[in-house]
């Protein structure tokens, strides 16, 4: 068993050199960040708009289901054939992967806001824009963040395909290990991607705790209940994922 981890544990690989772990991790994080950011810029406003107006709900609901049927590497190779080698096809495929979960959960989050709350906000004279940014968004934030987490998780796992088309990232160890029949190298790449995914997930859930008001996700209520001895703990991490249907197992590659 020890031999399998030899590549991962070899200190000579933990460098910022061109094929060092740190370089590949940074490349991998770079692809992930760019793709999720572009996807969020596209999906987030559309989700807010559809959620607030409830126009185009059919589109929002079915996009998630339809997107699940499209293989990400199919998009990768199609854009590759149209645009040529480079980073564009990789980012395009990853954006296509990240848009549906962000869009559908943003929509679902906004729709989950109690209509009475929105009516009350309208009643005290808030403008539509204020209702979206000051009422619907804060209340929907736990669900929206769940979608973002799901998107990041899928993208960070799928970014390994970049290496197949000559780009960098942690997929390099998977494909070069496969080509060289160097199993420890494959193990190193796999472990690093999995650990990176888990760490990113933890980081986002930390950010979520900072961003989400304690009043909207039950933390304040729990704190109050703790005094009286009642306790109900639900990790809440994946419940949102499952309930919004944005989840995709294994997050592809």
């Amino acid at each position: 068993m020890g031999g399998y981890f030899s590549y991962l544990l070899d200190g000579a690989n933990w460098t910022f050199e061109s094929n060092g772990f740190f370089t590949r991790i940074l490349e991998h994080l770079g692809y992930t960040a760019v793709a999720v950011l572009v996807a969020a810029v596209i999906a987030f406003p559309i989700g807010l708009l559809i959620g607030h107006t409830n126009k185009g709900a059919f589109f929002a609901i079915n996009l998630g289901n339809a997107a699940r049927a499209v293989p990400t590497i199919g998009i990768l190779f199609l854009v590759l054939a149209l645009a040529g080698l480079g980073l564009v096809p990789v980012i395009a495929a990853l954006v296509a992967l990240a848009v549906p979960p962000i869009l559908t959960t943003t929509y679902a989050g906004i729709r989950s806001v109690d209509p009475a709350v929105v009516d009350a906000a309208r009643g005290i004279g808030l403008r539509e824009k204020q209702i979206v940014t000051q009422v619907e968004l804060p209340v929907a934030l736990p669900i929206i963040m769940g979608g973002l987490r799901n998107a990041v998780l899928q993208v960070v796992a799928t970014a390994t395909i970049a290496a197949y088309v000559g780009q960098g990232g942690l997929g390099r160890y998977l494909f070069s290990g496969l080509a060289l029949r160097d199993y420890p190298r494959v193990v190193a790449g796999s472990v690093l991607v999995a650990v990176l995914a888990v760490l990113l997930d933890l980081a986002i859930s930390g950010i979520q705790r900072l961003l989400v008001s304690p009043g909207t996700d039950g933390r304040a209520a729990k704190r109050r209940a703790k005094g009286s001895g009642a306790k109900r703990g639900d990790d809440g991490t994946t419940a949102v994922l499952a309930s919004t249907g944005g989840a995709e197992p294994g997050s592809s590659p």
Partner: protein, 222 residues
């Protein structure tokens, strides 16, 4: 128009390759879902019956989610001592993902069954095992099958990854296009067929669902 003639030409020359890709794809995409579904029923039962199992089992499935499938497909041969090109590596990997998804929805479905109905069934004399199959399971089916739909579509779509490590399936049409110098026809054919298979499998489950849960439609009509 030239593109469509290219498509037709590619299909004419390579139809046996494409057919083989479809069969391979169905094997590595659908077999995992069937295995995962069968395994998820007892696991879902355990999660609902023994509530202390809920958190560890469901946490385990979310952790399994985060393992990239490409990594898993490549690591499995080392653990199980299978050949690196064995399609069953993909089947095992996709089974794990399917299971991760289905245990949760099966547990959700089973716990959504009204306890009063279960009590009534017990009062009518159902023994536990028969009651579970005749009452609990059918009533859980709408939720269970909706989870199965998600798992099936995801599995069929993810099966394309196999081609990146040299295992068959429709993904091989993508890599073929890549190797032919970015030639789009096989890529487009692969994409269309992959989506079509996923949609078709989804449709089959919807039809089964309509057949086995007639009461869900009755309630809507009333």
């Amino acid at each position: 128009m030239e593109f469509f003639s290219d498509l037709v030409e590619y299909l004419e020359i390579n139809y046996s390759t494409v057919l083989q890709a479809i069969t391979d794809h169905l094997y590595i995409g659908l077999v995992p879902v069937v295995i995962a579904f069968v395994l998820s029923l007892p696991l879902g039962f355990l999660v609902v019956r023994y509530s202390w199992l809920r958190v560890p089992l469901l946490t385990l499935s979310s952790v399994l989610y985060t393992i990239p499938s490409l990594a898993l497909i490549l690591v499995i041969p080392g653990i199980l001592q299978t050949n690196i090109l064995d399609p069953n590596n993909v089947v095992i990997a996709l089974t794990i993902y399917g299971l991760a998804l289905l245990v949760r929805t099966t547990a959700d479905g089973l716990s959504s069954v009204d306890p009063l109905i279960v009590q009534a069934a017990t009062a009518m004399g159902y023994k536990p095992v028969r009651r579970w199959f005749a009452v609990d399971l059918p009533l859980a089916l709408p939720v269970v099958l909706s989870g199965l739909r998600v798992a099936t579509v995801a599995s069929v779509s993810m099966a394309s990854i196999a081609a990146l490590v040299g295992i068959g399936g429709l993904g091989q049409l993508f890599t073929r296009g890549f190797q032919l110098g970015f030639y789009p026809p096989p890529i487009v054919i692969g994409l269309v067929l992959s989506v079509a298979l996923a949609v078709l499998a989804d449709l089959v489950i919807v039809l089964v669902q309509r057949a086995v849960t007639p009461w869900t439609r009755l309630r809507q009509g009333a």
